[in-house]
Amino acid sequence: MINLNFIYSEIILCLAIMILLLIGVFKKNSSYLIYNLSILSLFGCLALILNFPINTNVELFNNSYKIDYLSTYMKILLILSGIFVLLSSSKYVQIIKINKIEYPILILSSVLGMMVMTSSNDLILFYIGLELQSLSLYVLASFNRDNVLSSESGLKYFVLSALSSGLLLYGCSLIYGFSGSTNFNLISENINKDSYGLTFGIVFIITGLAFKISAVPFHMWAPDVYEGSPTSVTIFFAILPKIAALTVFIRILYVPFFNIIDQWQIIIVFLSIASMLFGAIAAIGQKNLKRLIAYSSIGHMGYALAGLSTGTNLGIQSSITYISIYLFMNLAFFCCLFMLRRDEKYFENIEDLSGLSKNHPILSFSLLIVLFSLAGIPPLVGFFAKFYIFTAVVEQSMYTLAIIGLLSTVIAAFYYLRIIKVIYFDPEKERYEKNHNIGLKISLAFSTIFILFYFIYPSPLIEIIEKINII
């Protein structure tokens, strides 16, 4: 008999999705209610996960579903960011009129898909989770259907993502063919070092996952989709799929294929270097903040991959630290974007920030903190993220990677500085509205305080993440 209490959080979320859907169908004008209930159900899930002893390590359903420290931690991150995304964008969705009942439900189902991904210990289950989150994201990207850009981004994301899913599936089938199983544990036992089929399979899987985290050269969709989607969806795109895909990266590379690390390590190093450099250079010419943050997130994923490429527990931990910190930096950045509202209209170009510091000192200070943190300047949290990554990278004597990575932070610093320049050095423009809802303010305050004051006591985060031992 399978012990279902290990997956209560997933079950609850699943039930919540169905119930909310029913409410939405039978009750008129219930979008606001559903929005709040979704937040509530996410809180419920979070409580259930936290309630559970974190150091459990069980495998359910014929070893295809794994609950361990990594998955629990990542689920907490996913749900937390889901809550923050919903909290911070509640006013936004009302104003641009996408507060349909489906919107929060799609977000919930996407989160559910990601939770399945983080726990999957089997290629099939992993694929199911991946598709659940992707399908929800296709719809979400084009949710503002009266807007051409939004529809275009949804379609673009759908076509390219379907292609990458196809590649990924092909890789899965190759691996199944050459190892005789879809279960990670069994693959790991049956692995044959000299088999080209397996290597091909890994390459295809890496391609599919690299697409999800928008690593170069599979990044083409990111800028368009980020720009076209409603901002409330862009923030979702920028944070959650990356957390999930990174977890799967760790699971697949470090459990079944750890023995053939020499085959995939170089690929990850390449992805990492290419993403860091491309993200830094391509962002320089951008004018739209959402597009810019797309390139910046490409670069940031390069750093997370650098940690992953080391093949050590320390590297994995540094990647996880990186993604956790990245979450808060992006959250804070998008919260600032949500605050640029005037006359029921949102602004998202760099020039709209001109002289912001004169009329909105606190908002510009938060942006200043966030941008310097994204650039990795100490003592802000972004520096620590990079510091841990490079600690892990240097431990393995991968100096080239470390030096290229750090040099690209200098290049990247330029475009962050450019935004700061516009905010602080340029002449002022019209004021923005100041009445924001409390959820947005809390999200921004929380993330900014985290970014600014993390350096005072950095131990707890490290201590939590240190317990993740995959190898």
Binding site: I377, P378, F387, T391, V394, T409, K421, F425, P458, S459
Partner: protein, 497 residues
């Protein structure tokens, strides 16, 4: 020592900055926040003097040690001072209140933000000088970029954006390599604690690359030729208080870094790279002095003279003689005072004439007699005339250099003559001669605040010129110890070979 005096020195300005940041920014509170900032920074100065009083110069051990677990099992927050660092802390605490007094006339808008930036800057700089862990040091060292970028960018002159970017990117580029080196040191030795590393020593084969990585950071910050080009731009565009901070303290972080890290941690590599440092220092002394001669902008001229003076400092450090090192530290302190004073003086007349071009001045002596007198003292201090603090530093450095190499010292001496040439020529063109412009006739002499600031700077320049004992005493033992450590390392390395 129960009272964490060093941490208080770091924290006090930060707390002051927090208060000011959250205060209401109305025009009638402007004075209040200024006095608050002044009070905080002055209290910090008093505290730093008290620190000097408590400081025991008869030992080379680190004093006032504080250690707290920071990232568990990895990095500890560790601060402490010895005879080398204490003077820089006092200098920082001394210069900051002067900057705040000087904002009266130079900062016209957003005073609140400016004061916050200055105070944050102060605490970061004090942190640099007393941190005893490489990562903590890096944190403070790099953190200073943020407030300085804003100071140049918001309150600077016409080309402030260009200068602020150049300053930021140059320094960042230099520093990232140092970060790689710091992490490598951690993996080579298992610690980033400086005291531990001093005892432990770093394997000779790693030292060369590590030294170069640290060098890349400090060379940009010093700045040494050929990466000095950010400094004139930054100085020219920065507001007066920013220039003062930059010249008086920021540049010293690199000189201090050379002594503490390059020499202290990598003695073998330091010995190996002596020729490189000598050549770059001599180029800095001669070449930038010549460049300074040709400048038409006063601030730019002083900026280039800073590069030349810092050339003396690096030269002195890498003589590894008692005189050379003491002279370097003395020169840094003296240059901190003199360059701060010169920038403030330029600020005074810039306020009145709104131009920094030397050609627009002339004949100031007849309308601004008091100003001409103090500027004379500062000019002579920059020249290194006996009786000013500038002389002691340069003299000691040259003694050290002569011990090491006659040729190097001889070439460096030319720099002394050149410095007299450009400084005195500047003074002549600005102060003497006929009054060329009608506007000059109308300008007023120093007001009370300016007299106060400038005379506060005149006093130590002359005092330490005649009586350098207090400074030299403080540093003596620590430097002896450093040189001894250095020599044992070099000798044991020779024996190994």
């Amino acid at each position: 020592m129960d009272f964490p005096i060093l941490s208080s020195l770091i924290l006090l300005p930060l707390i002051g900055a927090l208060f000011i940041f959250f205060s209401k920014s109305k025009s009638n509170t402007y004075l209040t926040i200024k006095y608050l900032a002044l009070f905080v920074s002055f209290a910090n100065f008093i505290l730093s003097l008290y620190l000097w009083y408590l400081f025991d110069p008869s030992t080379a051990e680190f004093q006032f040690l504080e250690e707290r677990s920071w990232i568990k099992g990895f990095i500890n927050y560790k601060v402490g001072i010895d005879g080398i660092s204490i003077l820089f802390i006092i200098l920082t605490a001394f210069i900051t209140p002067l900057c705040i007094v000087s904002v009266n006339s130079t900062v016209k808008y957003r005073l609140k933000d400016f004061l916050v930036a200055i105070l944050v800057m102060e605490s970061l700089m004090i942190g640099v000088f007393c941190s005893l862990d490489l990562v903590i040091f890096y944190l403070f060292f790099e953190g200073g970029l943020i407030p300085m970028f804003l100071i140049i960018g918001i309150w600077g002159g016409e080309r402030r954006v260009y200068s602020a970017f150049k300053f930021f990117l140059y320094t960042l580029l230099g520093s990232v390599l140092m970060l790689v080196a710091i992490i490598s040191i951690y993996w080579f030795t298992g610690s980033t604690d400086i005291i531990y590393l001093y005892d432990f020593g770093i394997d000779e084969k790693y030292q060369y690359l590590l030294w170069l990585a640290f060098f890349s950071s400090f060379a940009v910050k010093t700045p040494m030729w050929p990466v000095h080009t950010w400094l004139p731009d930054a100085h020219v565009e920065a507001p007066t208080a920013g220039s003062v901070l930059l010249a008086a303290i920021l540049l010293k972080m690199a000189g201090y870094g050379f002594i503490r890290f390059s020499v202290g941690l990598f003695p073998v590599a330091s010995e190996y790279f002596i020729p490189l440092i000598y050549i770059l220092s001599l180029i800095a002394i001669i070449y930038t002095s010549l460049v300074a001669l040709m400048q038409e902008d006063m601030k730019k001229l002083i900026a280039y003279s800073s590069v030349a003076h810092m050339g003396f400092v690096t030269l002195g450090i890498f003589t590894f003689t008692q005189q050379g090192l003491e002279g370097s530290i003395f020169q840094m302190i003296s240059h901190g005072l003199v360059s701060a004073a010169l920038f403030l003086s330029v600020g005074v007349i810039y306020e009145r004439m709104h131009t920094r071009l030397i050609d627009n001045y002339g004949g100031l002596v007849s309308v601004m007699p008091k100003y001409s007198i103090v500027l004379m003292v500062f000019t002579l201090g920059a020249v290194g005339l006996p009786g000013t603090s500038g002389f002691i530093g340069e003299f000691l450095i040259l003694i050290g250099a002569f011990k090491k190499s006659f040729l190097v010292a001889a070439i460096a001496s030319i720099g002394v003559i050149l410095s007299a040439a450009y400084m005195l020529w500047l003074y002549k063109r600005v102060v003497f001669g006929e009054i060329k412009k009608d506007e000059i006739k109308k300008i007023s002499d120093l007001n009370k605040a300016e007299i106060f600031i400038l005379s506060v700077l005149v006093l130590p320049i002359i005092f330490f010129g005649f009586y350098p004992e207090p400074l030299l005493n403080t540093t003596e033992i620590s430097i002896e110890n450093l040189i001894e450590m250095y020599n044992t390392n070099i000798n044991s390395n020779l024996v190994k070979k």
